[in-house]
Amino acid sequence: MQRLAALLPRTGRHRAGLAWALGVLLVAAWTSPAVGISRDESVYFWAAESYATWWSRFLRSPGAALAEADRFFGPNHEHPPLAKTVYGLTHASLSRGLGADHRAGFRAGAFLFAAGLAWLLCLWGWDLAGRGGGLLAPALFFLVPRHFYHAHPAVLDLPLTTLWLATAYAFWRSLLARREGRPPWRAAVATGLLFGAAVATKHTAWFLPPLLLAWWLATHWREVAGGALRNRLRAVPPAFPAMAVLAPMLLVALWPWLWRETVPRFREYLAFHLRHENYPWHYLGTLLREPPFPLSYPFVVTALTVPAASLAAMAGGFLQSAARIVQALRRRAEAVDVRLESLLLVNALFPIALIAWPTVPIFGGVKHWLPAMPFLALLGARALVTAARLLAPSAPARVGAALAAAALLPATWQVQHTHPFGTAAYNEMAGGAAGAASLGMQRQFWGDNMAAVLPALNQHAAAGARVWFQEATWLAVTAYQRDGVLRGDLRWANGAEDADISIWHYHQEFRDREFLTWTAFGTARPVTGAYLDEVPLVQVYARPGAWR
């Protein structure tokens, strides 16, 4: 027991962080089987297995493996490999090694990223507002249905969010160390490596250095504007050169696809994202297809998806931080650290503002500005703790607990209610899924809600039936079959005409697929479906005789 205790972190904040991380890991693993395989995730499964196979070959026979790098890293080379490599390694360890099902094996890597995010939120929340901040910040983040959903699939958005927060935290620690006269190099190197991991996860991370640089110039302009050049150069935080040097090295080191024709391939990768196509997206009754997209989009979607009381806490935290800056600038609040406040604010705002830019693609909903949400959770947690201290100086814990309960109980209920349909979740301000459907909001995306009808499909589909899976990819279908979630005798159909069964995923822009099914099957009556608050997400049609 003593040995076990010795393994535990020594400080309370780290213990709380560890508890949060373990909690998130276990809950994500427990609730994961109900979450279907999304389009992107199916591709990442395929890529992850390929990358992990290559690394194991590389360790055994580097020379031979190098010749095969292009073949193994060809799958999904439009996205960098880190998260997928982690998924491949957890899959190799848990599924191949210990016999866990394949989906759980890949997703274990995603749970680790989610756990890491919980830990970081607890640490930074603790730094900002003590124990209450440490306990509340992860809760405010993960008890949002869409965020909770993103803790499950082996995709790139939550890992990027974790690494964005980690980079910003390490960057801040490096500045703090310098200010306090401690050597900043450790934190600076960590910043460089974490940023490298972020760009090796998703291209969005490339926005971090300009953001941090702009923030630093704005908050340190006195040090930059005057004095000798030598002093000015000395003022530059070591985290910047660390990011500039270490990140590209790490990106290339982790991505063997870039080991040949590095520059042209890097250009190809960037070009893919600079010229990304726009998918149709339903927003307030209009099917948005091409830019310019409305500026309001990410703000409205955030307001309609984050549980209202949690959102109020986050908004309150944002305003509190802005007010603290104003107070400090008026020299009315000496203790306020304007730099920290502004760092939190710009990180909370920038990812949302980026998507608000009218020419930036908007498909994917909140996942594209997910990196902002941990910062809003941190600010919200601090705001609740501060409010409790101000309102009840003699019993802040009790009032804080009451406020936390007011914010988190409805949020927890919503998470439980909408799981596993995270991409279809809307808050009470929208009126839930039903209200959002009436408002004409995007009903779902990614094709993973099909998992809800698979038990019925397994039970009723005729032997050897040909199924038109529509939004679910062939890779997702084979992944389901490999795990025994979908019957192996069911075959892939390319359209309504050659299908016996058609699985319609509600997407406004694809409605012709449903009507084609009516024509081909001679019926407009589904045999089963998946509904959230009576709103159809997936409906299954069958030819006469194909559904027993």
Partner: protein, 346 residues
């Protein structure tokens, strides 16, 4: 025993009477004012706490009330049983809100008591006469979820406005069932998409043979076909004749219906299917001939999604049976997934 003062009766200068104490709201405001102004951090904290507590309570109430606002399986089955029992040929079902399409899963497609007469389930956002013909429908059963979040009475008002009377609403759990009797039902003498099997189709002069599935296949690429389908036009389902124009504008795709009972009007709609409505740059022309004589033409404009109505006067043919030919052509046939319907009306 006290005696009077030797200076006589005491005399004091009168003082100002004390100000009258404010009462009611003014008194409360006087006490509250120093606490409210100037603004301090405490005020912000109180406001945040009130907002979080209020919204938290609202969130809990919303979640607690939600199941009661939405129909259960039993409610759906009860509504289906009612419609199945009381509906008759010429009836259709409308849904409000439009997303309540679970109804398709529970309602019968055909009415067993009337030799399998079809029961169409409609999920259109609006039902004014100018927007939806409701071809062949005499009565509409509105299945609505009045308590559902986001529900409103727009659809009920539309149906009310074009009805002579209504029966209901009848409440079945969270579902309300109301029957509307349409004032002027659109009852065509002939709805031409339903007559496709007896039509003749040709591309230019080349005949397009009919296939076992009832579609006509013209010589050339596989999309040169004519079929009776339900297709998405401007995001809504439209039963129509899918007839993609051929690549040569000089060789129109012609669909000829013989022995069509004529009335005073030929009415129809044209549209481009699904996302193709946003692609392609060419208009599509639909020329109508009666016994070889041109009656008129409709034109489907490019990049203007919609189910565009056309109407041609046919009084001089009323009461007779004629051959109706529809010729479809486009200067550039790229992405012209053309769909149309047409009907003769008395």
């Amino acid at each position: 025993m006290s005696r009077p003062h030797y200076l006589g009766p005491t005399y004091r200068l009168g003082s100002e009477p004390p100000p009258e104490e404010p009462k009611g709201i003014r008194r409360a405001w006087k006490r509250l004012q120093p606490r409210l102004w100037p603004l301090r951090a405490r005020h912000g904290a109180a406001f945040l706490a009130a907002a979080v507590a209020g919204l938290g309570l609202h969130g809990l109430l919303f979640m607690a009330r939600l199941p009661g606002r939405l129909p259960t399986g039993l409610d759906w089955r009860a509504a289906a049983a009612l419609v199945e029992r009381d509906a008759r040929p010429g009836d259709a079902v409308a849904l409000a809100p439009v997303w309540a399409e679970r109804a398709r899963e529970v309602l019968p497609e055909k009415l067993p008591a009337f030799k399998g007469a079809p029961l169409v389930v409609m999920a259109y956002p609006r039902y004014p006469l100018a927007v939806e013909d409701l071809v062949g429908v005499r009565r509409v059963w509105l299945l609505s979820l009045p308590e559902a979040p986001g529900a409103d009475r727009t659809i009920a008002r539309d149906l009310e406005a074009r009805s002579t009377g209504r029966d209901g609403p009848q409440r079945l759990g969270a579902i309300e069932v109301t029957r509307y009797d349409l004032r002027t039902p659109v009852l065509p003498l002939a709805f031409l998409p339903d007559r496709l099997t007896s039509a003749r189709v040709r591309l230019g002069d080349a005949p397009c043979p009919v296939r076992p599935d009832g579609a006509f296949r013209c010589p050339g690429p596989p999309w040169l076909r004519v079929a009776r389908e339900v297709r998405e036009v401007d995001l809504l389902p439209r039963p129509c004749l899918h007839a993609h124009p051929g690549p040569d504008p000089g060789a129109p795709l012609t669909i000829e219906f013989s022995e069509v009972p004529m009335g005073r009007v030929l009415r129809g709609h044209t549209g481009i299917v699904a996302e193709a409505a946003l692609r392609g740059s060419s208009p599509v022309s639909l020329t109508v001939k009666v016994d070889g004589e041109e009656l008129g033409a409709a034109q489907e404009p490019p990049r203007k999604p919609g189910w565009h109505a056309f109407e041609m006067e046919t009084t001089r043919f009323a009461g007779s049976r004629r051959t109706l030919a529809f010729a479809i052509a486009a200067p550039d046939s790229g992405a012209r997934w053309f769909c149309f319907d047409a009907m003769t009306l008395p």
